[in-house]
């Protein structure tokens, strides 16, 4: 089978022409670096993405703290992850890197804060 993938690993967004059989990659062309091949392999077996969203904050100078995942999770768990993160409310002060949920849904990725919010 042949398919064109757009690698999302870096902003180059290489268009990779891949030949594969089932989950096995036979050949790739068009990737500017070896990560492109890994990306295609991962896409065939278990596509993963990171997400970023916000959580409510009480007592801070801002009503929301932005958060992100430290590692990509399976694409089909993204909405489960959103629901889980949506339950959280933090209390100021909070700092970049604070872990909000360790090992989110057992998927091996942490939810971390990406914004400093001091007490109001």
């Amino acid at each position: 089978m042949k398919r064109i993938f757009t690698c999302v690993v870096c902003p180059n967004g290489c268009e990779i022409e891949a030949e594969y059989e089932g989950n096995r990659v036979l050949s790739v062309a068009g990737n500017l670096c070896p990560k492109g091949r890994d990306y295609v392999t991962q896409e065939l077996v278990d596509p993963r993405r990171t997400i970023a969203t916000s959580v409510r904050v009480t007592g801070g100078t801002m009503p929301l703290a932005s958060v992100r995942l430290t590692k990509a999770i399976p694409k089909n768990r993204i909405f489960d992850a959103m629901r889980e993160i949506g339950r959280i409310t933090l209390e100021a002060p909070i700092s970049i890197g604070d872990v909000v949920i360790p090992n989110l849904l057992g998927l091996g990725s942490d939810v971390i804060v990406t914004k400093n919010i001091p007490k109001a």
Binding site: T6, C7, V8, C10, P11, G13, E15, G30, R49, T50, I51, A52, T53, S54, R56, M62, P63, L64, S66, R68, K75, I78, F79, M82, I96, T114, K115, N116
Partner: protein, 411 residues
């Protein structure tokens, strides 16, 4: 009037990076003037990741990327005055600003670094006919509401234009439970980066309609529907292809415009193609001692390159401050066949330099040529060249001949 060596207008990614590099180059007296309450510019609301891959080798969110610079500015003791709007810059580098706390302020600067960024094109600029209901936002405004203020903008959404912020917002709205019915782009190719088409639209099954536009807006108080239609090569709607799409929200992502009102006041000449200043290889405008970099100069697709450009500008500004002037730049760089624009527009010919440019249309397997008279200075083979992706070309002084203008074109 207070004397300041270097005033940086705008504390976004370009301004912060510029101020830091000025300090590294030994400039002591630096003042950043920022309109918002906090520094960081547009990055404050860009909570998605993907920033800093080039610079830091990791994928950061916008606020994290900005904070690294904000922290260093604080460590260096560089003055950053927030909540302060610059009202005027004169050609003799008098900067007039106002803040609620301090009232009207005037500074005499030796160098002014313009880093005001860009703003979004609005519905008014597009002249979409129809009523004027609520529920119509530019992508950046919707992003501000959702990511900074916790205000959800709507449920049933149509996106007009495929700029990167619109694509990012298509994903963001979907994650927040809204239904994005489609992205309608008037051009026959997407305006945003391929990776954003993939990870913001394709990942979530959001359709992208190329050569389509919104022809009418309907609704009284709140938006009720939009009419979309297919377009021909001249971007005219094709009769009979109209379709009414019920929706309560329309997001516009139809282009960014460098914010240059202050530059014009200072007598800075603008390039009609970039809508930013004409600059030389030092990022110096036609007004000596006034420099520009980042999105105020030309709209970038990656913040990493904004920081880099701002740092290069700051190095030149420091040299200008220390030496009193910079080497003259008399050679013109012209945008030739299939090139939308090129920065800088003038070079000295006596130093290495980097050109930043965009092509006019998507192309595959083409050669980018930089020529001087009939002599080829540099040729680069490109597998793909997209208007969405800024292309950079480094040129060595050794490859140039003395005094002829340059032209960059696609062969």
């Amino acid at each position: 009037m207070t004397h300041v060596q270097a005033i940086v207008v705008g504390g976004g990614p370009a301004g912060l990076a510029a101020a830091l590099r000025l300090r590294e180059k030994g400039i002591e007296d630096i003042l950043i003037l920022e309109r918002e309450t906090l520094a960081g510019g547009i990055l404050r609301q860009c909570i998605h990741d993907g920033f800093g891959l080039t610079r830091f080798g990791e994928s950061l969110s916008g606020p994290e990327y900005a904070q690294r610079f904000i922290d260093r500015v604080a460590q260096e003791g560089i003055r950053c005055v927030a909540d302060t709007t610059v009202l005027d810059i004169s050609s003799d580098k008098t900067v007039t600003a106002v803040s609620r706390k301090r009232g009207l302020m005037q500074f005499q600067a030796d160098a002014v670094l313009l880093t005001m960024g860009c703003r979004e094109r609005t519905r008014g600029a597009l002249a979409v006919p129809g009523t004027r209901p609520s529920g119509i936002y530019t992508a950046g405004v919707a992003q501000n509401y959702i990511n900074l203020q916790n205000i959800m903008v709507g449920r049933e959404t149509v996106i007009m234009g495929s700029g990167d912020i619109g694509l990012i917002m298509a994903r963001r709205l979907t994650l927040e439970g809204a239904h994005v019915k489609g992205v309608y782009e008037v051009l026959p190719y997407p305006s945003g980066l391929p990776r954003n088409i993939e990870q913001c639209l394709n990942d979530y099954g959001i359709p992208l309609y190329l050569s389509h536009t919104v022809t009418e807006i309907r609704g009284r108080e709140r938006l009720e529907s939009v009419v979309v239609a297919q377009c021909d090569e001249r971007f005219e709607p094709i009769a009979g292809t109209e379709e009414e799409i019920p929706c309560d929200t329309l997001i516009l992502s139809v282009g960014l415009i460098p914010e240059n009102e202050l530059s014009l006041a200072a007598g800075v000449a603008l390039d009609a193609r970039t809508r930013g200043a004409f600059v030389d290889e030092h990022c110096q405008t036609n007004v000596p001692g006034v420099f520009a970099a980042g999105n105020v100069l030309h709209v970038h697709d990656l913040v990493d390159f904004v920081s880099l450009e701002a740092e290069q500008m700051a190095e030149s500004a420091a040299e200008y401050l220390n030496a009193g002037s910079l080497p003259a730049c008399c050679l013109e760089v012209k945008a030739g066949a299939d090139i939308g624009h090129v920065i800088p527009q003038r070079i000295s010919g006596t130093r290495d330099f980097t050109l930043s440019l965009r092509v006019r249309k998507p192309m595959r397997n083409v050669t980018l040529v930089l020529a001087q008279k009939d002599r080829t200075v540099k040729r680069v083979r490109l597998r793909k060249a997209l208007p969405a992706e800024m292309i950079q070309l480094t040129v060595r002084k050794a490859d140039l001949c003395e005094d002829a203008d340059l032209e960059v074109y696609v062969e």
